[in-house]
């Protein structure tokens, strides 16, 4: 039964990674860049909820909505100010380095505003734990909400991309920006929309992460951000179901690694698995092989 408990907490942690990984994978797929500041947007989202609930006394749901708005605006502003001017100008490395810079900027701003003390985040989930099999399996309210949220988000995103006009525009931009412009698609607007969606998901991920692991510091988003990036690559970067599968597998591997091998080695195990997967299948689990031009 402990195995099942570990599996459930692995899926739960993995669902958070999946929600973060969706932001990475969408931005990569559409803007062809790695937004390394994505993890820190999570942290901003979590601080927003923390401040809204503890200082302003807002209830959980409005606080989460506020945090989504803050992160959406932040994501769009970062794209507009830091990334767009560099797009198409010379090396893609310039954008990558800028993204790392933005990441440090957000961490240090948070340090300046909130200090380095760990804030203890109170959960936003009012549900009591679910006990199954005579109490041998416990599923916390956070776990239930996290898993449900990730399923709703993936289904919603897939419907959005396949059924709506802006979603189809995203697909077109991800394949060929020039041809998309010829169709009348506003490429800059589509990329901004992608950042908006990814960042609002980051806010949700931040809240879920801090509800399950309630210590909040300016560096809270950093490691989950990197792991979610690994999850996105693991599942096949650019692929939405890939991000989901990659995230959940990564969460399970991490928890099993902690439980059965060594809690200190867990992160090393996670990255070792990534290396093995990429050696066997360089495009990730659901990644499409790079098409050759005929």
């Amino acid at each position: 039964m402990t195995f099942l408990n570990y599996l459930i907490s692995g899926i739960s942690l993995g669902s958070v990674y999946a929600i973060i990984a969706l932001g990475y994978t969408m931005v990569y797929g559409i803007a062809k860049m790695l937004n390394f500041a994505h993890g820190d947007v999570i942290m901003v989202g979590a601080y927003t909820v923390f401040v809204a609930m503890s200082s302003s006394g807002l209830p959980a749901l409005p606080a989460i909505l506020l945090s989504m708005v803050v992160c959406t605006v932040l994501g769009v502003v970062i794209e507009r100010v830091a990334y767009r001017p560099l797009r198409g100008a010379g090396s893609p490395l310039a954008v990558l380095i800028t993204a790392i810079g933005v990441s440090y900027l957000l961490q240090n701003l948070a340090l300046l505003i909130f200090g380095s003390n760990t804030k203890s985040f109170s959960t936003v989930v009012p549900l009591s734990p679910l006990k199954l099999a005579d109490g041998r399996i416990t599923i916390s309210g956070e776990t239930i909400v996290t898993i449900l949220a990730s399923i709703v988000i993936v289904v919603g995103l897939s419907l959005f991309i396949n059924r709506t006009r802006p979603g189809q525009a995203m697909l077109a931009v991800s394949e060929d920006q020039g041809a998309a412009k010829l169709m009348g698609i506003n490429v800059n607007g589509t990329i901004a929309l992608t950042f908006a969606i990814g960042s609002s998901l980051a806010a949700i991920a931040g809240v879920l992460l801090c509800s399950a692991y309630p210590s909040l510091t300016p560096y809270t988003g950093s490691m989950p951000g990197i792991k979610a990036f690994v999850a996105a690559v693991f599942g096949g970067i650019g692929s939405i179901p890939g991000a989901m599968i990659g995230g959940i597998l990564l969460g399970i591997i991490e928890i099993f690694g902690k439980a059965y091998i060594s809690s200190q080695m867990a992160d090393a195990i996670v990255f070792a698995v990534l290396i093995v997967v990429l050696l066997v299948k360089p495009t990730g689990i659901l990644g499409k092989p790079i098409r050759e031009k005929v």
Binding site: R165, Q168, A169, L171, A172, E175, D176, G178, A179, A180, K181, L182, M183, G184, I185, N186, V187, K288, R291, V294
Partner: protein, 236 residues
């Protein structure tokens, strides 16, 4: 008054002066061919017209609006569509999704549906394959899809960049027949082609491009009988 007027266009790629003082015009209802060797600047001119490249100097007037001041994604809704070189269909999207992307700037669902019927009538193979990913189509079918996609915006003028590239002679004939019939149904055509013979056969007038400037121009039939043109571009 010309429908499309290109005036004193100069385009640079860094230090390279790619397009030198190019001027030409396209009147409503015409098929105009831009012919010339590989690297003469034909595609550059089309990309400049549709806004993908910014010119250094010069004007591009489409129905009296200066396209050099309009962002690329707003050109389609003015009534100008492009069939790009190498087709550039969205290979992971279905044939139907590609066609719908062509109508991206249009709002009226029933009108889009009517245009779709018209495109299917012109290209029955696209209807047969409407749910297939575009990347699985043959070269000729992809060319038809790129043309159908451009027609979906219901353009007044359609710019075609090397539609015959990489196609078998039978398919080339088929594609040129379609271009002629698209023109007959009222769409003006600006055709860029390396296959000068085929292009001159369907064009009303033509401009011959040599290393970035217009070397000669005139009635397509007359150019076809011009000895220097025959030698340089028709392989005779």
């Amino acid at each position: 008054m010309a429908m499309l007027e290109v005036k004193d266009l100069n385009v640079y790629y860094g230090m390279i002066h790619a397009i030198k003082d190019v001027s030409f015009e396209v009147n409503e209802g015409e098929i105009i061919a831009l012919i010339g060797a590989n690297g003469a600047g034909k595609t550059t001119i089309l990309h400049t017209i549709s806004g993908l490249i910014a010119p250094k100097t010069g004007h591009i007037l489409f129905e009296n609006k200066d396209l050099t001041k309009i962002p690329a994604h707003k050109v389609v809704s003015l009534g100008m569509a492009q069939v790009p070189e190498g087709r550039r269909v969205f290979s992971q999207m279905s044939v139907l999704q590609n066609l719908k992307m062509g109508a991206y700037t249009r709002d009226d669902k029933s009108e889009i549906e009517a245009t779709l019927e018209m495109v299917y009538k012109r290209f029955p193979r696209l209807e047969e394959r409407k749910n297939q990913p575009a990347g699985t189509l043959s070269g000729g079918e992809q060319q038809m899809l790129a043309m159908g996609r451009a027609l979906m915006s219901h353009p007044k003028i359609i710019l075609m960049d090397e539609p015959s590239m990489g196609l078998s002679p039978i398919l080339v004939n088929e594609i040129f027949d379609i271009i002629r019939s698209v023109n007959e149904s009222g769409t003006t055509v600006l055709l860029v082609e390396q296959n000068a013979k085929k292009a001159l056969m369907i064009a009303d007038r033509a401009y011959v491009l040599e290393t970035g400037h217009i070397a000669s121009s005139g009635d397509a039939k007359e150019l076809m009988n011009d000895d220097s043109i025959r030698k340089a571009y028709l392989g005779e």
